[in-house]
């Protein structure tokens, strides 16, 4: 009876305990913050940009961490000589080296790469720009352009002209420790404070534990090369296969001024098209940090302005030839976008084919417009009409610059073309064309394909007392020069397409549009003008909606009609695409005046043909892929010395064995120990 009451009591206690645990868990899992132990130990770093692993047919580049993260004692590097501490002198390896951006050079990174047993990882804090830094190779896209060994040995592999002499190739190195990038903000202050409190060397030696450490997780799934990772992605046996890598690519943005039926692919009889091309993308060592102000934004903004300038003239008096505005994506990774378009044209998967292409005008890097060099490709075959077309092109362009503030210089015949999408089209067929750029032999961009190629590098300076909205409208000098180039390009395109010469002088690019675009792409994308087009962040969609807004026509369709315009008699989704534009907020209301725009802009898939063909070791097409990963994070915490950890473990093991021994002895001597305490069994019930 007594034992029954005892068991009921203990049951009641158990129920109470379970309920309290449930209540505790409920509060902890809901939004009420509870003091979990993990929150007291780790400080999570949220605004990090990792260096990821990229693979191609032969190599893997980028960084890799171990699957359970790499931990190292934080060391803030003060100069290159200070590298001795993490590399040889420091008593507590491995170290996590924190660098300022001015110390992020190839020599320091290579030294740390070679000492990977003592350096667990690198963190770069973006502060001041170094005088010059280009992590790209010296000869960009050397194997996939038109200058191959078979074409001309002297021009291949940059034997004549080195386009990027400052390039140190850091983006194409392989690191087997994680490299992260942080901005200079509160989190960096926390890290530096932790370092100064715990890790500073006092009187030359004697670092006392606990020390401040950082752990970086960026475990990449793919390894070796593209063929291996694509094979492994496709052969997983489990129910949820793990994708190991993804091909790089995106979308090209294309717009004809006279659209064709988008379902009719292949050659179009009696159609002649002038292609106006620019590239959209850029890269940096940390893949997500790329801005490409001088390298790519200047080019495509000019082309967008030219497209806007041509809109009225081509609608009033359509020229004989059609004009295709093509913005290629993925050009920095062996011409993904342009090789895709050429492949589609050759295989009748695009609305026109190579026979329809009359000529090409490509806008490369056009930061300063004092003199823009024109490269013309004089083809080597006997047909003379091609040479004539090229001369005509140059003449059209020269005459278009009349009255404008810059001059065109035709580059010497012996000079090869710079890395440009035009090279890819030339690889397929000798089409006459021009590449416009603001350099002759050397790209002359101190920060080519790096994360310092930003608004400041393009000299976008605004007076300090302007609000963001006023800055959006302020026309900078850079915008004025780019407007001049855009006007010249638009006029040249109009003439090249056979337009009426009398209309040419009415074609003018709008400096306000140019400066708004520069502000939106380089300073702040969350501005009212971009918001009125589309609330998108990705570059491709921004360019698509901008081009639609600048070249399309507004219609009266409602939103539901805009999604299904085929039901209406005058609209056709074969020729046009219909986009719902957010519109501006008028001054007296809060609702946006949205509308449906009818436009000929289309997004064309830009993935390298090597993945369609299944040829992952292709030398002809780009084979770049990006590895997948599960999660990427970084955190800091205090670590104890190894001796303390071993001591704790030892004590725990000792307690375990002692308790086992005690239990064994108690069990064998049970009858001796417990005989006097045993109650008689015949208690009254």
């Amino acid at each position: 009876m007594v034992s029954l009451f005892d068991s009921i009591h203990s049951l009641g206690d158990l129920v109470k305990l379970v309920t309290s645990i449930q209540l505790f868990l409920f509060f902890c899992l809901s939004d009420v913050s509870c003091n979990s132990v993990a929150q007291k130990i780790y400080v999570e770093l949220n605004n990090t940009v990792p260096c990821v692993r990229l693979l191609n047919a032969t190599h893997q580049i980028g960084c890799q961490s171990s699957i359970s993260g790499d931990t190292g004692v934080i060391h803030v590097l003060e100069s290159e000589a200070d590298l001795e501490w993490p590399l040889s002198k420091g008593p507590n390896p491995p170290y996590m080296v924190l660098l300022e951006s001015s110390l992020f050079t190839k020599s320091i990174m290579m030294k740390m790469k070679n000492a990977s047993s003592r350096v667990a990882g690198v963190v770069v804090v973006q502060k001041t720009s170094p005088p010059e830094f280009s992590p790209h190779t010296t000869c960009p896209n050397e194997n996939t352009g038109v200058y191959t060994e078979t074409y001309d040995h002297n021009l291949a592999h940059c034997n004549t002209t080195v386009w990027n002499p400052r390039g140190n190739g850091l983006s194409y190195e392989e690191f087997d420790s994680p490299v992260f990038s942080l901005k200079e903000d509160n989190e960096t202050e926390v890290i530096k404070q932790c370092y100064f409190d715990h890790n500073r060397v006092v009187n030359g030696s004697g670092l006392q534990y606990p020390l401040c450490a950082m752990q970086l997780f960026s475990h990449m799934h793919a390894v070796t090369d593209t063929a291996t990772c694509m094979r492994r992605s496709s052969m997983d046996f489990s129910t949820s296969p793990v994708m190991v890598c993804d091909p790089l690519g995106g979308y090209n943005v294309c717009a004809f001024i006279r659209p064709y039926n988008s379902t009719a692919f292949g050659h179009k009889e009696n159609e002649s098209v002038v292609i106006a091309a620019a590239r959209l993308d850029s890269r940096a060592f940390f893949l997500e940090d790329s801005t490409g102000a001088e390298g790519s934004v200047s080019g495509f903004v000019t082309l967008l302005a030219a497209a806007q300038a041509l809109r009225e003239a081509t609608q009033e008096a359509p020229p004989t030839r059609n004009i295709l505005f093509a913005f290629f994506h993925g050009e920095v990774f062996d011409y993904i976008g342009s090789s895709r378009m050429v492949y589609d044209m050759k295989n009748n998967m695009f609305v026109i084919d190579l026979d329809n292409v009359h000529s090409i005008l490509e806008i490369g890097q056009v930061k300063t417009c004092i003199s823009i060099n024109v490269w013309t490709y004089k083809c080597m075959d006997i047909r003379s009409n091609n040479n004539e077309s090229v001369t005509n092109l140059v003449k059209n362009l020269q005459s278009s610059t009349a009255g404008l503030n810059f001059s065109l210089v035709e580059t010497d015949f012996s000079q090869p073309l710079p890395p440009s999408s035009f090279q890819r089209l030339l690889r397929a067929r000798a089409i006459p064309g021009i590449v416009l750029a603001d350099h002759q032999t050397d790209i002359n961009n101190r920060y080519y394909e790096s994360f310092y190629d930003n608004a400041a590098h393009l000299n976008l300076t605004y007076p300090s007392n302007l609000s963001p909205e006023e800055q959006l409208e302020f026309v900078t000098d850079t915008a004025k020069s780019l407007t001049e180039v855009a006007t010249a390009v638009a006029r040249a395109l109009f003439k090249q397409a056979g337009g009426n010469n009398s209309q040419v002088n009415k074609i003018n690019a709008d400096p306000k549009t140019v400066t708004q675009m520069l502000y939106g792409f380089l300073v702040r994308s969350n501005n009212s003008w971009f918001q009125s087009s589309h609330q998108a962040n990705a570059l491709t969609y921004l360019v698509q909606y901008l081009l639609a807004n600048l070249t399309g026509t507004a219609t009266n369709l409602t939103q539901s009609q805009c999604k299904k315009p085929d039901e209406l008699p005058n609209e056709s989704t074969y020729l046009y695409s219909y986009l719902w534009v957010q519109g501006v907020v008028p001054p007296n209301s809060t609702q946006r005046e949205s509308f449906c725009v009818r436009t000929a802009v289309r997004l064309v898939k830009a993935v390298s043909p090597a993945f369609d063909l299944g040829d992952y070791i292709s030398k002809e097409y780009s084979t770049w892929t990006k590895s997948q990963w599960k999660f990427i994070k970084a955190r800091i915490f205090l670590v104890a010395s190894r001796d303390l950890e071993m001591l704790t473990l030892g004590v725990g093991v000792a307690v375990l064995f002692t308790s086992l021994l005690v239990t064994y002895f108690v069990r064998t001597k049970a009858d001796v120990l417990f005989s006097s305490v045993r109650e008689p069994n015949n208690a009254a019930y």
Partner: protein, 110 residues
């Protein structure tokens, strides 16, 4: 199953069954596949019976079965250890062949 309670002839039948792997008629296919494990069970279970207990009539046969099971087991262990060592060492170098032979491929390392 406690061997102490079985009569000796039944012990012999059991030992033979484990040696031959014919546990049941329709499981004999699996018996061939799991022979090393059956032989391991044979050796461990009947070791005391074969070598430690005082002699009885069936013990000689039980001894032969246990010895043969032991030899077969050692052979299997040698073969499996060699193959596993070679595979783990060279899987990365074998590239495509190594991947096709694997069931799960580790992520992030060659």
């Amino acid at each position: 199953m406690n061997l102490e309670r079985l009569p000796n002839e039944e012990k012999l039948t059991l030992c033979r069954k484990y040696y031959l792997g014919k546990l049941q008629m329709y499981v004999c296919v699996w018996g061939f596949a799991f022979l090393p494990f059956l032989w391991l069970v044979n050796v461990v279970w009947f070791f005391k019976e074969a070598f430690v207990k005082p002699t009885y009539t069936e013990q000689l046969q039980i001894k032969t079965y246990v010895k043969r099971s032991g030899l077969g087991l050692l052979l299997w262990v040698a073969v499996l250890t060699t193959w596993i060592t070679i595979f783990q060492h060279f899987r990365a170098e074998w590239g495509e062949v190594g991947d096709y032979l694997s069931f799960t491929i580790p992520l992030g390392i060659p």
